[in-house]
């Protein structure tokens, strides 16, 4: 998470309330949450009336129950019903992210708007330059018809007073693959065929109108029900989430009700070892470039958008998959829950149908700890559990660094780190199959900074990096290759 903001905090507040109700067997009170948070009288912060505020909260909770908000058919259906239906195994369809359309309406219809610097000049360069005739003079000021405007920006360039400003649509701008677009209803929609589940739009939206579809109630239901044990597989980025060592996190998870806790860093060691071997073979066979495969958003990018890049992606399974395979062997009866900073892992888990039962974010873990009243810092610290060096998978550059350690001593190791799937880096990756200048291992991380900066992380990137380095004491030169 780049930065914790009020939209993040609201989501965490809701998650905590939901966890509490689940833990207290009080789910039938779920429909009260919006009313409690937005009393009719009082100064609850809503942009408009409390009724709209409550409606938005209702849809947010739908997302937390795992639904796609757009699938609502009956506006009168209670959240409790939704919850029961989810718990009874109802198929909620698939998709990692959902647009809370009630919350999404803050953005402009057209990217260009006339500010009050407009003098309504005689020349009207803007009108003359607009190819669509979208500009009229209204009360002595230029006015852009948002339905005619195609967003070419010619008017902005033409105005000598710089009176026309560009207003971004943050989600669209953040999406590296053009998967989120405004529909005819004026709301944003995610195209599931194009979406790579990177979660960038969710982080970018200032209204928090894009949410991930949580699986938390299923995890809690199983914990309460105890029909089978649950094993938590904790991603390496955990080292940047709390002012606490892994043994404290483990102890907290056991208290919550998980029956065992495993470090995905162990799976990461396997990924690094096998990726090193794969690289040696492929390179010997004349393949000049291979990219990493641990970031599921990146793998989806290659699969859905860059078919020429697909063959260059490593075939080695991700740390999550290796860890899950091992856990299945070790705990054959158990349900497997991956706990990490990533929302795209939901999509990856689905590809490996049955191997991983649920994906949970660190943020959800945080909410759950609050609901259970567990303070991680107060858990016993039975140190001695030294983090594996592969914990650095969580940090940009760390995958390449780990692969290197499994290459023969002194082997040449050309490599490139692609830090973040912004549009520039996507363009670079597009050229990769033909790019003569790039050779070796290409590490790709969808989030700038690596998993530590994932959209489901608990800490802002700066905090995560600091805590991570404190918790994983590796010599400086071992962080990146």
């Amino acid at each position: 998470m780049a930065q914790t903001n009020n939209a993040t905090l609201l989501r965490r507040d809701l998650l905590t309330r939901l966890c509490r109700l689940m833990l207290e067997d009080n789910l039938e009170n779920i429909d009260r949450i919006p009313v409690e948070m937005m009393p009719r009288t009082g100064k609850a912060a809503s942009r408009c009336c409390p009724y709209k505020g409550r409606a938005i909260l209702r849809y947010r909770i739908m997302a937390l129950l795992g639904y796609n908000v757009a699938d609502e058919t009956d506006e009168l259906e209670s959240l409790y019903n939704y919850a029961l239906r989810a718990l009874s195994g109802f198929d909620k369809g698939y998709g990692v992210l959902t647009v809370v359309d009630e919350a999404c309406d803050g953005c402009v219809k057209s990217n260009y708007t006339v500010s009050n610097l407009c003098r309504g000049c005689l020349a009207s360069h803007c009108m003359v330059s607009c190819p669509k005739g979208a500009i009229r003079m209204v009360d002595g000021k230029a006015h852009i018809d948002e339905y005619l405007c195609i967003g070419c920006g010619k008017c902005q360039q033409a105005c000598p007073y710089h009176a026309i400003i560009y207003v971004p649509i943050p989600c669209e701008e953040s999406c590296p693959v053009g998967a989120i677009k405004r529909g005819p209803d004026g709301k944003e929609h995610i195209d599931p065929e194009k979406c790579i589940h990177c979660g960038r739009c969710m982080t970018a939206c200032p209204f928090g109108a894009i949410m991930y579809r949580s699986q938390i109630i299923h995890v809690l239901y199983e914990i309460k029900n105890q029909a089978r044990p649950l094993v938590a597989l904790v991603a390496p980025a955990i080292a940047g989430q709390f002012r606490a060592g892994f043994s404290q996190v483990r102890s907290a998870l056991l208290k919550i009700g998980f029956s065992a806790v495993e470090q995905v860093a162990e799976g990461a060691a396997q990924t690094a070892r096998n990726e090193a071997e794969e690289w040696i073979h492929k390179n010997a066979d004349g393949q000049p470039v291979m990219t990493t495969s641990c970031c599921p958003a990146y793998v989806s990018l290659a699969e859905k958008h860059l078919p020429n890049l697909r063959p260059l992606v490593s075939d080695t399974p991700s740390p999550m998959v290796y860890s899950a395979m091992k856990a299945r062997e070790k705990y054959p009866e158990a349900g497997i829950v991956f706990v990490g900073p990533c929302v795209a892992k939901q999509a990856e888990a689905r590809k490996h149908g049955g191997l991983i039962d649920y994906v949970m974010t660190f943020e959800e873990l945080g909410a759950l700890l609050i609901a259970r009243g567990i303070d991680v810092v107060n858990e016993p610290d039975s140190s001695g559990e030294i983090p594996l060096p592969e914990t650095r998978f969580a940090m940009s550059g760390g995958v390449a660094a780990s692969v290197q350690t499994y290459l023969p001593e002194g082997a040449e190791f050309p490599h490139v780190v692609v830090d973040g799937l912004n549009r520039k880096n996507v363009a670079l990756l597009k050229t990769l199959p033909k790019n003569k200048n790039i050779k070796g291992l290409v590490e790709v991380m969808a989030c700038e900074g690596g998993c530590l900066a994932g959209p489901g992380a608990l800490t802002s990137t700066e905090t995560a990096q600091k805590l991570f380095k404190e918790n994983v004491p590796l010599p400086e030169k071992q962080w990146a290759p």
Partner: protein
């Protein structure tokens, strides 16, 4: 001059609800303030259980003043005030 103590709640609730930013507070304090403060952590003092009374998390104490919905700006403002009226002398 006595140092001003800034106590940050390390409880999970405060941490999750925005208090994580204080992990890097030291680095973000202006030089003149850095010199007069001592940063400390505290285990959850329980304010979070009485939010009607104390306000919302995260909680930070600057000397004996409790700051709710704390953020670096509020903390710095509070320290600056204390420095001005010399109550830390």
């Amino acid at each position: 001059m006595n140092k001003i103590t800034v106590e940050i709640c390390y409880g999970t609730l405060c941490f999750v609800m925005g208090g994580e930013v204080f992990e890097t507070l030291q680095e973000h304090l202006p030089e003149e303030i850095k010199q007069v403060v001592t940063l400390k952590g505290m285990v959850c003092p329980g304010y979070c259980h009485q939010q009607e009374k104390y306000g919302k998390p995260p909680f930070v104490k600057v000397q004996d003043r409790l700051i709710c919905e704390a953020n670096p700006q509020k903390i710095i403002a509070c320290i600056t005030n204390l420095m001005k009226d010399g109550s830390n002398q």
